[in-house]
């Protein structure tokens, strides 16, 4: 029993050291990132013939409230040549008809579908020559991955970008990613964007006008969480080419390689992590030099769930997807053939993400047990917990500092204080709930419950009205 306690303590120490190492890498990169975000001439680039064309794929399932605003936002990006392909995934609401009405679309007679990935039946493709870069694919319901595959099949350009229908891209987001892609077009196979929480921001004309933190607590915690995960984590991971996920909300991919690995995997959540793992596997086993990059200056604003029910659903889904992906790719675990992925990323994910809740719960129980049996002093328990809290807090503060060095999106001083306060509050309750949700997700997996769960949307207008009255 004592051995277990020691293992738990070493586990916690190791995980924290790893976290700090990754954040250290982020800090080493942040100077370069800040400079390139500031001094690159995106304006000139955004009109250049030399920038590769991109197909934006927007899977939409029951998005009638927000889809119009999002399509308008996506059609006004600063980018030389691109198309917007909205894929209506057999919505049961009026998603398709509001789109047809707003953009006066008509069904195309002989649409050319060149791709060959298997998808659900495509019912029709809609277009209006007045909006030459907008296409709507209407298909039978088949899930998000299936919609993306249908979009890939229809897309005309060599790069594809997947975008959630509840997200708003900044006007420069795509050109910033393309700039990164053009630095190394031979090797870059995927680039992830920085996802931020739009709750609380003032949104006008399909763009975030004024940035501020959410006023409700659920989105507020998520804001901190995203900041930590994206700035503190992914910058570091991308530096050693060990990124295991490109957020489904906003990522850019080489179409030829996505097709080479068979497109997105359907039937299970976590398709965004899955495609990246597949790309890693493919490139490594074919011995092609490659890079999965992260572009923190390309920002996508997303609506965070603001009720317990929805956020718990989302997190259970993530937990489920993560477990599924890890089980599917268990062959990579500590497999030297897969280099950084096999030796660091996958073991890290299995031990510190997937199994994290179990170590935490049992470790805590063990420690409590020792104290109860008088095998150790309660002071030691307290010190241990305090250290744990401090290291976690330091990581959050580190992310806030990264943000302040490179981006400074949050202009108000009060927002800064609020972030620091909630970084601490996160450890009372929210953190524990995260552990619980992940366990529940695993239970769902074992029970073979495979639904996407409820995800309700709020219109951007309402969101922005509450923001402007505040």
């Amino acid at each position: 029993m004592l051995v277990y306690g020691t293992v738990a303590i070493y586990y916690v120490m190791f995980v924290n050291i790893l976290y700090f190492a990754i954040m250290g890498l982020s800090f080493r990169s942040i100077g370069t990132i800040a400079r390139r975000a500031k001094y690159s001439s995106y304006q000139t680039l955004s009109g250049s013939e030399l920038v590769p064309s991109v197909s934006l794929l927007v899977p939409a399932y029951n998005e009638e409230l927000t889809i119009i605003e999002n399509v308008y936002c996506l059609m006004t990006l600063n980018y030389p040549t691109y198309e917007v392909i909205v894929i209506n995934d057999g919505s049961s609401d009026d998603t398709l008809s509001v789109l047809i009405k707003e953009f006066k679309l008509e069904k195309m007679h002989n649409p050319e579908i060149r791709g060959t990935i298997e998808t659900q039946n495509v019912r029709g493709i809609y277009h209006n020559p007045d909006y030459p870069h907008l296409f709507i694919i209407d298909k039978e319901n088949g899930g998000k991955a299936d919609s993306l595959n249908a979009g890939i099949n229809f897309s005309h350009y060599p790069l594809i970008s997947s975008i959630d229908a509840d997200s708003l891209l900044e006007k420069d987001a795509l050109i910033r990613m393309a700039r990164m892609y053009m630095e190394n077009p031979e090797e870059t196979v995927a680039i992830g964007g920085d996802v931020r929480i739009a709750n609380g921001c003032l949104i006008e004309n399909g763009a975030v006008k004024r940035v501020s933190l959410p006023r409700k607590i659920w989105p507020m915690f998520q804001s901190i969480e995203y900041l930590k995960a994206f700035l503190g984590g992914r910058i570091g991971w991308s530096r050693m080419n060990g990124l295991i996920i490109v957020s489904g909300a906003f990522g850019l991919f080489r179409k030829d390689y996505v097709i080479a690995v068979g497109g997105y995997r359907g039937g299970y959540p976590g398709e965004d992590m899955n495609i990246i793992i597949k790309l890693h596997r493919y490139m490594l086993s074919h011995k092609i030099p490659y890079k999965v990059a992260f572009c923190p200056e390309a920002v996508c604003w997303t609506q965070a769930p603001d009720t317990y029910k929805i956020i718990s659903n989302q997190r259970m889904r993530w937990g489920r997807g993560n477990l599924k992906n890890m089980i599917e790719n268990r062959g990579m675990f500590l497999n030297p053939k897969y280099k950084v992925m096999g030796l660091i990323t996958v073991p890290y994910n299995v031990l510190f993400e997937t199994l994290n809740p179990y170590f935490r719960i049992t470790g805590l129980l063990a420690l409590a047990g020792y104290t109860f049996l008088d095998m150790t002093h309660w002071r030691i328990l307290l010190t241990f917990m305090l250290l744990n809290f401090l290291s976690g807090y330091l990581l959050s503060v580190g992310a806030v500092i990264l943000e302040e060095i490179a981006f400074r999106r949050y202009k108000k001083l009060s927002d800064l204080w609020k972030m620091l306060l909630f970084s601490a509050l996160k450890f009372v309750g929210y953190h524990q709930l995260g552990v619980l949700w992940r366990v529940q997700g695993h239970i769902q997996y074992l029970r073979k419950n495979n639904s996407w769960g409820t995800m309700t949307r709020q219109s951007w207008k309402e969101e922005s009205e509450t923001a402007s009255t505040a």
Binding site: S46, G47, S48, T76, N78, Y131
Partner: protein, 267 residues
């Protein structure tokens, strides 16, 4: 500020449209038109109409542009000579009766050298109010031809907008600014510019959809469109020309070239 400006303009416009209609429909054969600007006397309107009624013995009409307090006087049936004579009498009368009066008058007859378009009528009113000389001014064709154009500048970049505004104003164009596609469309409908000078990358609505929308607006004369943009992709340029754009200039641009191209649009 642009909002209130537009509103004021709209009221004015109403008067000149009204005048145009009356001149074309009610008095199509011959009608002298006199614009009088004379600040000071409170009952100028009645003063003028009484005096002129006595003098001419015919049915004259006096209208007032409330925003600039300029009077428009219609003299049905008068030739240019008669109108000029009445103007001389009216001027002397005002100078005698009202202390320190400084009446400024611009006049012409329709049909004559110029057509009574709202633009011409407004220009006459402005020449009465702002003209340098105290002499009675007869409005001629040459003046009407030099009517400045109205240009709407649409760009998200403050520096570009400021530069263009100053430069175009110096050349006598009237300008307004819009930051994004949506507000530009509203302004075009309200203000009816002769030319829209626009960037292609805009918030709200942009690119080809924006250009299509401009052409579909319910305005009398669809404005000419000159694109001034970063966008240098040839396909987009050719698509723009296909959709009826009058000129396409890429940034960074030469101001001299821009002047020349805009000037050509007004010929």
């Amino acid at each position: 500020m642009p909002e209130s400006l537009t509103l004021e303009r709209k009221q004015q416009e109403g008067l000149y449209h009204n005048l145009e209609e009356r001149l074309n429909k009610t008095f199509p054969e011959l009608c002298g038109v006199m614009f009088l600007y004379c600040p000071g006397p409170p009952q100028l309107e009645s003063l003028v109409s009484e005096f002129l009624r006595q003098e001419t013995g015919s049915d004259i009409e006096v209208l007032k542009d409330a925003s600039t307090s300029t009077l428009a006087v219609l003299l049905p049936g008068s030739t240019l000579n008669q109108a000029h004579y009445q103007a001389l009498l009216l001027k002397r009368h005002l100078e005698e009766t009202v202390p320190e009066a400084d009446p400024r008058i611009t006049l012409t007859v329709f049909p004559g050298q110029v057509d009574p378009t709202p633009g011409v009528l407004k220009q006459m009113a402005e020449s009465a109010r702002l003209g340098p000389s105290a002499d009675i001014h007869i409005f001629t064709k040459e003046e009407a031809a030099s009517e400045p154009g109205r240009i709407l500048i649409v760009d998200n970049d403050d520096t570009i907008r400021e530069f263009l505004t100053i430069r175009l104003n110096m050349q006598g164009y009237e300008t307004l600014e819009a930051l994004d596609g949506t507000s530009a469309l509203e302004l075009i409908e309200k203000w009816e510019p002769d030319l829209v000078l626009t960037e292609l990358n805009l918030y709200g609505i942009d690119g080809l959809p924006f250009i299509n929308q401009i052409q579909k607006l319910p305005v009398e004369n669809t404005p000419k469109i000159v694109v001034l943009t970063e966008q240098r992709v040839e396909r987009t340029i050719s698509q723009c020309f296909q959709h009826g754009v009058d000129d396409y200039i890429t940034k960074p641009f030469s101001p001299v070239e821009l002047d020349a191209r805009i000037h050509r649009c007004f010929q």
